[in-house]
Amino acid sequence: MLGAQALNAQQLAIQTIGNNLSNVNTPGYARQRANLVETDTMLTGSGEQGTGVSVSDIESVRSTLLDGLVQQSLGSQGYADDQASLTSTVQTALGENFTSTSTTGSASTTSSGAIQTALSNFFTSLQSLAASPSDSTTRQEVVQDATSLTTALNGAYSRIQQTQGQIATDASSITSQINQLSSTIASLNQQIVSVQSASGGTANDLIDTRSQDITQLSSLVNVTATTQSDGTVTVALADAPSVVLVSGINGGGAGTTQSLSVSYAPTSSTPLTVSGSTSGALGAGIPSSGSLGSHLEVANTLIGAPAADGGTGLLGQLDDVADSLKTQMNATNEAGFDLNGTAGTAFFTGTGADNIAVASNIAANPSLIAAASTTGAPLDGSNATVMANIQNSSSVVPAFQDIVSGLGSTVSAAATNQSTQDSVTTQLQNQQNSVEGVSIDEEMTNLISFQQAYSASARFVTTISSLYSTLLAETQ
């Protein structure tokens, strides 16, 4: 009996090692340990006598502290990763990059982006118009450069809006993942309670799976997971604790108490919002972390709404630049006189960067550009000089450069934050792995130890068997 018990115990320990080795690369797996204990002693005439060994339980080696820290860190990591990726995408959409330096002889040229180049060309052609106000070719160039500028502004605006739309689609996909994970966690809650109440032990593997799901959920949205006395976990949004995603085994479906969804309204002052199926619309900026938080931040704050809808993000700022350019150019053109001596009309039309365009009458007839300050003076280009000097207005070229530089700083800061957060997460995961991870060498060493113990126990059984055989042979 003692030998058989020992064989069983060593075998269970070896099986546990086998399970650990099998799961050495399984994400979220925490190494398990067969805890061997002496069985109850037996009182004999010679005193207490041991009765062997048994496995008290198979313990999953977990650190609640490190698990919680890693979950929090992954929430921040998910935010930082997506923030770096999304802001970089927005920067690409704006399209203001330094192009390659081309070298011709000793001279080289650089270009600082489509809009900045278009702005520069437009004001340069206006300067040329000031010198040659009656030259039809110069007037045509002004119209062409103005059209290039408006096309560049329209294009950048459109690309950024499309990026915002894609972010909204992506956010919707993230909420689907969140809902799926919430449902899975609730289902695992049910299974864990069921297994633990039936076996009286701990459902280590199910807890590992649930832990992995919570970790995955944390990278999507910042949550708090609280373990209840019955072994279930309650999952709620960290920013809004009243928004409970999973509560025990109760709730609709497999235990998910509510699902999240996003709504996208490009012309709203807050274009992207998150709602809970029972909590309704969450406050602005909630959730603030995880991938979903990053999507909200980029869509609502970095890109924002058009200026007409109260937006102060990238779209609003582009609208402001376009509006300032339009207002100043129109006022100047209307104050001057065209080649025919007629008072000038609006140069640009449109309500913002998305639809600013050269006025159709001027596009069709460049002689209507009011280059002169006085009527009947076709060779007067002084009003064109005033137009060219609009480039020095702080609300046009410098304002646009501020937009580009500001976006660059945001992208750079996001990349730095990602790097820092990556370092923090890696260190925490290494610490978690140090406690919970499987070491092949350690397991193999233990395997040899348990293998030897098993062999010894088997030899013990053989010896006892031999003793009994000898005894039986002598008594026959």
Binding site: F98, T101, A377, L379, D380, G408, T426, N433, M444
Partner: protein, 310 residues
């Protein structure tokens, strides 16, 4: 700290990705020749470079304007020099007049003078390459009509071009007109009472009528005043040319300087980048080798060595 199997793997992946990111960045810098591609590569540097780029663009625009100004001021100076020769020639003809000359002789001089007036009209009514009149002010009309009188449709407005920031240069000059309304220019000056065309035409009238004394007492002084007026314009147009030339030289220097500044900001320092590339390559190789060696180490190797002979 307890080390597990994934510790080595995670470390190897992390260091590999880090090295590859840096290698890719260096590769891009070296292949494009630019140390920054996007604003986020170095926001402060990008901001500075973008501002310098704007300044360079503006300098290029001023350089274009200066080239136009050079052409226009040169045209003006050439025209004034030619006009000066014409009026000087007229002055010489009139200086040769004496009361002893016969009416026929005086009329011959008048004919010579008529030829000079035709030349003057041709110079004053010349057009630029785009077909606009050079000296009609901003009205784009011929300053002298086909009947040889001042065109009252002209104006005295002149054009200036900014060849540098806050450095406007006058690139057109107006012929002017005795009016009405009187307009000051290189043919008429109300302050000194000089009328170039009028002086020559009056001289022709006096010559053709054989009035030598009127020529000597009135026309010669009037033409001399005209010559003085034209001379002042030869001087002022030469000064404008000189101002444009100075500005062009300064613009060229500023453009070179600005371009050098931008290149210094955004161009890759190839020697430094090459050294960095070499260091990174070595670092990456060392990292890979360390990972390969450490990850191959396991008790399994020794167990197989022990169990194989058995």
């Amino acid at each position: 700290m307890r080390v597990t199997a994934s510790t080595y793997t995670n470390l190897a992946i992390s260091s590999s990705q880090s090295a590859q990111t840096q290698l890719a960045q260096l590769q891009q810098e070296i292949s494009t020749g630019n140390s920054i591609q996007s604003p986020s590569d170095d926001p402060a540097l990008y901001s500075q470079a973008a501002q310098d780029q704007s300044t360079l663009n503006q300098l290029n625009a001023y350089t274009q304007a200066a080239a136009t100004a050079t052409t226009m001021t040169a045209q003006n100076n050439t025209a004034m020099t030619s006009l000066h020769q014409v009026v000087a020639q007229a002055g010489e003809y009139l200086a040769g007049v004496s009361t002893n000359m016969t009416t026929a002789q005086l009329q011959n001089v008048g004919t010579e003078l008529q030829g000079l007036v035709t030349q003057l009209t041709s110079i004053v009514n010349q057009k630029s390459s785009d077909g606009s009149y050079l000296f009609g002010g901003t009205a784009n009309v011929a300053p002298i009509t086909s009947s040889g009188t001042y065109n009252t449709g002209t104006n005295g407005n002149t054009t200036t071009i900014d060849v540098q920031s806050n450095n406007p240069v006058q690139v057109t000059i107006a012929a002017g007109s005795s009016g009405p309304p009187a307009i000051d220019g290189f043919l008429y000056d109300s302050a000194s009472g000089t009328d170039v065309l009028g002086a020559l035409q009056q001289a022709m009238t006096d010559l053709n009528s054989g009035n030598a004394s009127a020529v000597l007492s009135n026309d010669v002084p009037a033409v001399n005043k005209a010559l003085n007026l034209i001379s002042s314009y030869v001087g002022s147009t030469a000064a404008s040319m000189s101002a444009v030339s100075t500005a062009t030289t300064q613009l060229s220097q500023q453009t070179t300087s600005e371009q050098t500044t931008i290149n210094g900001l955004v161009q890759t320092n190839l020697p430094t980048a090459s050294v960095q590339l070499q260091q990174l390559e070595m670092q990456y190789q060392a990292s890979l080798e360390a990972a390969t060696r450490v990850m191959n180490l396991s008790i399994l190797n020794y167990m197989s060595q022990v169990t194989t002979p058995a």
